[in-house]
């Protein structure tokens, strides 16, 4: 399950896709994931999926995507079976279609998230005039993930050192055993949030309503071309999908 989520985690790199303006990539993900609702023909959807693959290759993130797909296989199979049942075994291609939709959705957004830093996403949020505190909450959450996971491990070690056995017991007992782990973690993080707030105020957060920004997003000619290509191809595929070309 965790491995599947890694398909949405930023992967450091310097490919042409990495260098694209995040806004273009967001549009790409939105466009291509909405395209899968245009038709329920498995062949068309297979084409739609295939179109995404070059993006992953150019972005040099194809391996991570494959890992994600491998980890997602149980889900994919589950969706397929569920759909077969739902359609009462009549239309196997329908089930394939629904399954493909799921995969395309994940893939289109993987292209975005694998090649875009959380900071760039935050910058987009700022450009969209979302109030800065939300953007800040977003970046800070990401910044603290490694710290939190390290502290969680320390807490687990400390409680195990006092004899806590997490592996033993039935479901109810095991859940109760997590209390000595969750409580220190939650209390510690709540306390930390106060310290963070103090430190932020001490560094002038709130000084002026007109906050400036160190980084800027430059929309270059390459981005404009990429945007154009995305829109044109999306429209083209949309029209193609609607035409009665697809057998099943």
């Amino acid at each position: 399950m965790m491995r599947m989520l890694r398909g949405f985690e930023y992967l450091r790199g310097d490919s042409p896709i990495h260098r694209l303006d995040p806004r273009v990539k967001i549009l790409y993900s939105l466009a291509y994931s909405s395209l899968c609702f245009i038709s329920l023909k498995a062949t068309f959807l297979a084409l739609l999926l295939a179109v995404n693959i070059p993006m992953l290759i150019i972005g040099r993130v194809i391996k991570r995507w494959l890992d994600m797909m491998k980890a997602a296989t149980p889900f994919i199979v589950l969706i397929f079976l569920f759909n077969i049942l739902f359609q009462r075994f009549s239309n196997i291609y329908g089930a394939v279609a629904y399954t493909l939709r799921f995969v395309i959705f994940m893939t289109a957004f993987a292209v975005l998230f694998l090649t875009t830093t959380p900071e760039d996403l935050a910058l987009v949020m700022v450009k969209l005039k979302i109030p800065y505190q939300y953007t800040l909450a977003f970046t800070m959450a990401i910044r603290f993930v490694p710290t939190l996971s390290r502290e969680l491990q320390i807490i687990i070690d400390a409680q195990r050192s006092r004899g806590l056995e997490l592996e033993k017991g039935n479901v109810v007992e095991r859940i109760r055993k997590y209390m000595p782990i969750l409580i220190p973690l939650i209390v510690h993080e709540i306390r930390r949030s106060y310290t963070l707030a103090e430190a932020m105020e001490s560094r002038g957060f709130g000084y002026t309503k007109n906050r400036t920004y160190y980084y800027e997003m430059k929309f270059t000619k390459k981005d404009a071309i990429a945007l154009l290509c995305t829109l044109v191809s999306a429209i083209f595929l949309g029209i193609l999908g609607k035409m009665p070309l697809w057998p099943f």
């Binding site: 502290e151 320390i154 807490i155 070690d157 400390a158 409680q159 195990r160 050192s161 006092r162 004899g163 806590l164 056995e165 209390m179 000595p180 409580i183 220190p184 209390v187 510690h188 306390r191």
Partner: protein
């Protein structure tokens, strides 16, 4: 009656998951029952990684660790924890109960003690630590120093043979450190083995005699505190600073032959008095 080896580490190699470097590189170490020893080094030298092997939280990749004769690879943490009490650095990483009494009894409950006996024992240890007044209060409301004593109490409560303290002096004022040293001395005098992991050179110089120095995942020195903490090369490699009295002794080594544990103030002063007044320990140049 020779003392037995209570901790045996042979050719221990350990690497954290997803790490490229080895955190511990071929550690060889023997600690005898009843010893009071400090494991020193800068942050990242591997001290905490090493002591986590003593109660089985970490298992060796190569080599072995034997505690009270038990091979840690063949026992769970819960089993080993009965022999080794490991007190972590930050009390906030373990305090969770609604009362101080409950917090102290946690380990005993995990070990299957019956409640009556557990409560009695917990109250005993809290009294020794000067925390009896707080039995029914929330541990979260205690001061920093009190929380520290509570975490030690919650481990001492089940009377482990070996007590390991991970950076117990961080954030403590001098008076608190003195109190901590008294607790350590008292427990050690009862025959318990105590290991203090720290980078606090002054604390070690003042209260501990035997020292193991680590750097880059290896043990680079072991022995008497007077020899090791005054050795420039060892201190430099370990990225530690010699204690003040040690620096003085080094700078006066051409003039005075210091005797005894001269890192302890009274002995240091005694050595100097003798030199000043009647050249007793002067070096013949």
């Amino acid at each position: 009656m020779p003392r037995r080896d209570i901790i045996e580490v042979r050719d221990l190699w350990y690497r954290y998951p997803e790490a490229k470097e080895w955190a511990l590189k071929g550690i060889n170490l023997t600690i005898k029952e009843g010893e009071l020893v400090a494991i020193m080094g800068e942050n990242g030298a591997g001290k905490t990684t090493l002591v986590k092997h003593f109660n089985g939280i970490l298992k060796p990749h190569k080599g072995y660790v034997k505690v009270c004769g038990l091979d840690t690879k063949e026992h769970t943490v819960a089993e080993l924890a009965r022999y080794v009490g490991l007190v972590f650095q930050n009390p906030d990483h373990q305090i969770f109960a609604s009362t101080v009494l409950e917090e102290t009894m946690f380990a005993l409950k995990n070990f299957g003690w019956d409640l009556e006996r557990a409560e009695k024992r917990a109250k005993e240890i809290l009294k020794e630590m000067g925390l009896l007044d707080y039995i029914d209060t929330s541990p979260f409301s205690l001061s920093g120093g009190e929380k520290k004593r509570l975490t030690i109490a919650s481990v001492l409560v089940y009377d482990p043979e070996i007590l390991v303290l991970d950076e117990p002096t961080v954030g403590q004022d001098y008076g608190q450190k003195r109190r901590l040293a008294k607790i350590i001395e008292r427990i050690n005098s009862l025959g318990k083995t105590i290991i203090v992991v720290t980078h606090d050179v002054e604390f070690v110089a003042e209260y501990i005699d035997h020292v193991i120095v680590m750097s880059g995942g290896r043990i680079i020195a072991e022995g008497e505190v007077t020899r090791i903490l005054c050795d420039e090369n060892i201190m430099k490699r370990a990225r530690l600073l010699s204690p003040q009295l040690g620096i003085v002794v080094k700078n006066l080594e051409d003039y005075i032959d210091f005797k005894g544990n001269f890192l302890r103030l009274p002995i240091f002063v005694e050595n100097l008095k003798r030199w000043l007044e009647n050249d007793e320990n002067a070096k013949r140049i």
